[in-house]
Subunit: 320 residues, 2 copies
């Protein structure tokens, strides 16, 4: 089968053996999405080698011990736990110390014709959700995961920094908590427009300069840039919460004394639960279609990856 692989510093679509389905489910991928983490892996993040990709929708070909899943359309949680530790036994493998992570840690990923995942990781996609929406289950779950880490309610004032795919999903997800104020801050009017159409207040980085010092209870940093971190600190009120969403390679210069003096909390947030994300997708509550910039056949995966890093591009999809 074809797979988009990163190995020995080189990204290429290669012919590899189809994964075996021993003790897991084999899924035929019908659509996968390029995430910024994929781009960061090719820059050295996480030290991963193998088939990249972790956002997908597909059809179950075989599933050890769960024959009822065969033929079903599914999405899948990307963390595969050991199944034995306390975390896994409490049904949350996201922090299992021995976990593999689809296309990120020790497990071939989704930019391929087939992938394998434990049966427990798979969730059926409701019939009313087409593949082009279902492929957003993983990043939307990650956006919704913010609400597991910080309280956002009707009294909250919230800013989201970054109008890329992640920021656009975070802003839309958080809007369902009906915060007193929610602003998406970004660079590109065409991207901000997508949030604006959902009734979300937007502002450009230029407009924000010095405008809202120490104003927001919660700021979500989804731009993955050092300047985004600095802006977040400027926007936060004392004892506010800065949510870090972006994973990227390298370190960030942080003015730690500002965190101490203003008693800021910096809260990391990674993966979320898929069930609430599928629910949002089924209700048509989130505009994900507008996020799709282009679709490439898997065979053109290298070109698609390059395209995903270009200015103005939001989500690039791959079809095996």
């Amino acid at each position: 089968m074809k797979a988009l692989r990163y190995e020995k510093g080189r990204l290429a679509v290669e012919e590899v053996a189809r994964p075996s389905d021993e003790r897991e489910a084999l899924v035929r991928v019908t659509l996968s999405g390029i995430c910024n983490t994929d781009v960061e892996i090719v820059r050295g993040y996480a030290g991963f080698e193998g088939t990249i990709g972790h956002e997908f929708v597909g059809v179950v070909e075989s599933a050890t011990g769960a024959r009822e899943l065969v033929g079903q359309r599914v999405v899948g949680e990307i963390n595969a736990g050991c199944g034995e530790c306390e975390l896994c036994r409490s049904n949350d493998s996201r922090h299992c110390a021995r976990r593999t992570v689809l296309g990120i840690v020790g497990r071939d990923g989704a930019h391929a014709e087939f992938l394998r995942l434990p049966v427990v990781n798979l969730l059926r996609v409701p019939d009313g959700v087409p593949d082009e929406r279902a492929v957003f289950a993983e990043p939307l779950a990650a956006a919704w995961g913010i609400t597991e880490r910080v309280t956002v309610d009707k009294d909250s004032s919230v800013a989201v920094i970054g109008d890329g795919k992640l920021g656009l999903l975070c802003a839309q997800a958080l809007s369902f908590k009906r915060p007193a104020r929610l602003v998406l801050i970004g660079k590109h009017s065409n991207k901000l427009e997508i949030a604006l159409r959902r009734g979300i207040e937007t502002a450009t980085l230029y407009e924000v300069q010095g405008k809202w010092p120490r104003t927001f209870d919660v700021v979500v940093e989804a731009s993955g840039s050092e300047s985004g971190f600095a802006l977040a600190l400027e926007l936060l009120r004392p004892r506010g919460v800065l949510v870090l969403k972006s994973t990227f390679h390298g370190e960030t210069q942080v003015p730690t004394s500002r965190i101490v003096v203003d008693e800021i909390s910096v809260v990391g947030s990674r993966c979320g639960r898929f069930a609430p994300a599928l629910d949002l997708l089924e209700r048509g509550a989130v505009d994900v279609e507008s996020l799709i910039s282009e679709e490439y056949p898997l065979a053109e995966g290298v070109r698609a990856m390059r395209r995903a890093t270009e200015k103005g591009v939001i989500k690039v999809l791959l079809r095996p």
Copy 2:
């Protein structure tokens, strides 16, 4: 009167006018303590110029509208709020945007013969607490303030990094929450010995290398060093809380993706309430005497400040 002042890049004991007591209390300082923040101010932290120092005990000379305080022995909360904003009206000026801070922001400090503070900032020192203990009220309040920012209870495993004056106070303060495990980690066996005598487990940096990966629920970084921050991240379990206590000049290189992937919370903690600290001091519950390395007359303030930065020295006091 004499005052230890930092101005135009120069630290010196100078003769200055006694502060006026208009609308505030005038306090004759009987003992003050040198904090690492004083040292950082002389390195450029906070951009402060004037009389430094914020840890003190003294006697009220005059107090507008609070004659009953005159002649009383007091300590004082260092943040002086505007008195009008929402925070001040809720009796917490620590984050008032227009606050001054004793010896740190816009207000002459405590390494002087006299200081002034708002009457509401002063707390009577119980008779049983000698000056040499009372002078620790401010840093002990800051240590106890951790418990306002993060839950520490009988189920918590907690590590404190840094065996300086702040770390020793943090470890002792947190021990009163009876956590399942509490370890103070430092460089100096003579300093760790002070905690050990209070029944607190200790370990040297050398012993800790690779010993407790992803182990602790809460790690308090009180060393103020970049290596302390890195060690804290190593010791924390996923979704653990890193409490930042040290204010210092400059920025820190932070591996933000580690914070995201392990969903760490980095929580800044600065000033605490004085009342619980005075209570701990009155009960004799905390060994502060062992922290006193040396005492100098205020006239030798410059020498004392230099001494406070030397290896092996813990708390240096100044007596006007």
